[in-house]
């Protein structure tokens, strides 16, 4: 039996952020009267050193066993406060937050009275949940000191080398026969105009000769199971299957250059309409000759089209695979809404290369937005100095391409500055197409249970704070698999993913999430609905009862909601705990209305 709750409530002014709208002293006085509240105070900044010290002091002085902080959002500050209560000897899960800033004072700043009433409600709800919280422990698991890197492009090879140099065993698998990924197929790289081989060759040499790297080419994933610290992956190649047991996985299987459909800007119709990637190949082979003019068109199939509402409507009825197929189909038809980040620089680079080779060739870049950042601005200036011409065309009127009887190409565009129609007779039309997700990624993602974002790339655990982590502990992403990146960025993400994986492998042990599901065996009838809905395969029916393997559980709670016998207990987000919040809000609210 849990001891009687003794809740401490700490309300933050957040300077004037909360205190300037919500009457904090009034909320503090109010919370003192709530059930189980032993102590309540307010401070200017609860997250300051003084504020945290006050929490610890009060826990000791008033023998508090639950803590509620009413301040900002748990998404940023819960870890800090949990740590604080833990330092004072409390289990970190005996803590709850009321979000009275982001979801109250900031959005109701012209209604201080109502905001104060809402803050009271939010505190009351948090106290109700806190009194029902239970201590949780984060299970500890061993981490195998070996890693699997999927994809031997620049990012994957960088990651593999980084871990191998730290003494970890690395299995590096590549689906192609050769190493080097997308970069190997390129000619020169911006902004140094270095040959791509200068980047790729040393990496290939190093991974091939490293004693800690086991390299497997023409190899793909067949099956994956396990969890952080202990993944079992079956790899398949023409030589047969092989099983590896690793502690971490880095997914670095890259992206694809978008291949325009036949007919888009006459691609596939006129043979001198090509993509930048194809131009790279021509330049590499030295086959360009001395053209009079080359016209490049930016954002072909990029930054256009949202997923159509009809495609979205169809999602709910379908499973994930069907959904992804629809996303891809919608993208194919309407183009990709994101900026691919590298195409502007790539076009400028090829423009510079052509100008240096044959200065008399007129290079025209048709764009709607040109995005060059940091020192790349100088690169753009270099192109201008070399007289590469940049023409901004009207976005709504895409350039039209026809062929003259003399089989020259004719590009008609609408100049955004003058609003006039401009015409270019040209030898080549080069389409700058975006990087797009590979279908293979989808398969990897499904096998490894990594979520995919609506743009089709693998999704990071947090866009800002955890850019190389995935939602699956122990699996990291590097390179263009999570979105378009250039070479330096791919190397950075490769190093970053390796560093993240090495932390786990270096520590040999990891604590996993405590918020997991638990089966109460008595009511369980072994119907298997939990098994059916779980995206992670955590529940398993054994001897007519469901058993949830904690280590596989990610804590979404879908099984608990689906269970017809309510036999699944969600730790920290239990039925009673959620209902307590609802009840604290509504029942008390009704009483208030009749004048209690």
């Amino acid at each position: 039996m849990i001891e009687e709750p003794r809740v401490g409530v700490f309300i933050c002014h957040c300077g004037v952020n909360i205190g300037g709208v919500v009457n904090v002293p009034e909320v503090t006085e109010y919370s003192k009267k709530l059930p189980y509240v032993t102590y309540a105070e307010h401070s200017l900044y609860t997250c300051s050193e003084a504020g945290l010290a006050a929490i610890k002091k009060a826990i000791q002085e008033y023998n508090l066993n639950r803590v509620v902080v009413a301040s900002c959002t748990p998404r940023t500050h819960e870890p800090l406060f949990r740590e604080t209560v833990q330092e004072a000897g409390l289990n970190p899960y005996l803590f709850e937050m009321a979000n009275i800033r982001d979801q109250c004072s900031w959005v109701h700043m012209h209604e201080p009275q109502k905001a104060t009433e809402k803050a009271k409600d939010l505190v009351r709800m948090a106290v109700a949940k806190a009194s029902l919280l239970e201590p949780q422990t984060e299970p500890e698991v061993e981490v195998k000191d070996a890693s699997l890197v999927i994809g031997a492009g620049v990012a994957g090879m960088t990651a593999a080398l980084s871990m191998a140099n730290q003494g970890f065993k690395v299995h590096l698998v590549e689906r192609d026969k050769g190493l080097g990924g997308t970069v190997r197929r390129l000619y020169k790289l911006y902004p140094t105009l270095a040959d791509s081989s200068e980047v790729v060759d040393p990496l290939i040499k190093a991974v091939k000769s490293h004693k800690n790297i086991e390299l497997m080419t023409s190899t793909t994933l067949k099956e994956a199971s396990g969890y952080v610290g202990n993944f079992n992956v079956i790899l398949t190649s023409p030589n047969g299957d092989k099983e590896v047991n690793v502690g971490t996985i880095i997914v670095a299987c890259g992206a694809l250059n978008y291949q325009p459909p036949k007919g888009l800007y006459q691609y596939g119709v006129y043979d001198r309409v090509i993509t930048q990637e194809e131009l790279d190949g021509i330049l590499k082979r030295g086959n360009l000759g001395k053209p009079k003019r080359i016209v490049m068109i930016q954002c072909v199939g990029a930054r256009k089209g949202e997923i159509s509402p009809s495609a979205l409507e169809a999602f709910p009825k379908s499973d994930t695979a069907e959904l992804l197929r629809k996303i891809l189909k919608a993208r194919k038809e309407e183009g990709w809404p994101y900026c691919s980040r590298i195409c502007c620089m790539n076009a400028i680079k090829n423009g510079i290369l052509i100008k240096k080779q044959t200065p008399e060739t007129d290079v025209v870049i048709l764009f709607t937005d040109l995005r060059v950042y940091k020192e790349y601005e100088d690169f753009y200036k270099m192109a201008r100095d070399l007289e590469v011409r940049f023409v901004r065309h009207i976005e709504e009127l895409p350039p039209e391409i026809t062929r003259t009887p003399e089989s020259e190409l004719n590009v008609i565009a609408y100049d955004a500055l003058s609003g006039l129609e401009v015409e270019f007779l040209t030898d080549w039309v080069v389409l700058s197409t975006p990087l797009r997700p590979r279908r293979g990624e989808v398969i990897h993602a499904r096998m490894l249970k990594i979520p995919i974002a609506t743009d089709g790339f693998l999704m990071e655990a947090h866009l800002k704070l955890r850019p190389v982590d995935t939602n699956v502990d122990g699996i990291f992403i590097a390179g263009t698999v999570s979105g378009p990146k250039d070479v330096p960025e791919s190397i950075i993400s490769g190093e970053a993913a390796a560093a993240r994986a090495s932390i786990l492998m270096g520590n040999r042990k990891v604590r996993t999430d405590a918020i997991t599901a638990l089966v109460d065996e008595d009511p369980c009838i072994g119907c298997g609905l939990c098994e059916e809905v779980c995206p992670y395969g955590a529940p398993k029916i054994e001897n007519g009862k469901s058993k949830i393997r904690e280590i596989l559980c990610r804590g979404c709670g879908s099984c608990a909601a689906e269970c017809p016998r309510r036999a699944i207990i969600m730790r920290h987000f239990g039925d009673e705990q959620i209902l307590a919040q609802v009840k604290a809000l509504l029942v008390a609210e009704s009483l208030k209305e009749v004048g209690f």
């Binding site: 959005v107 709910p316 999704m459 809905v533 909601a561 209902l579 509504l586 009704s590």
Partner: protein
Amino acid sequence: MTKEIEEEKRVEEEFEPLIVAFCCNWCSYAGADLAGTSRFEYPPNIRIIRVMCTGRIDSTLVLEALRMGADGVLVAGCHPGDCHYQKGNFIMEKRFSYIIKAVDSIGIEPERVRLEWVSASEGGKFAALVREMTQQMKQLGPSPFRLTYNPK
């Protein structure tokens, strides 16, 4: 008759509905936070309960909230394809069609219960949604299950 209409109008104006929102930690709760960071104002009629995923929200939680007198219940999660847990929002979507039927069958307007997708970057959408839903609940008037609603 006119008196009745006037009375109804007055109730509508004075009535402050209470909306319970279940928001998933990764998208909609973050979207609500972003509305705050961006200072997008919305009516103070909503109280957000954080859950990890909309897949956690079962019919009981929604129906209990209504039974206890919530004027509206909002379940908000990640856009299709963006679920942090791959498919929790689909599970909820499927379940939601049953919930709506259950709500209807106990004599509550199905409009009182909504399932919406709000991403972490859609602070504006969240604020607009709360504005719209509050207005809608005002028009619907107090929930028949509201224990005591006593317009002065």
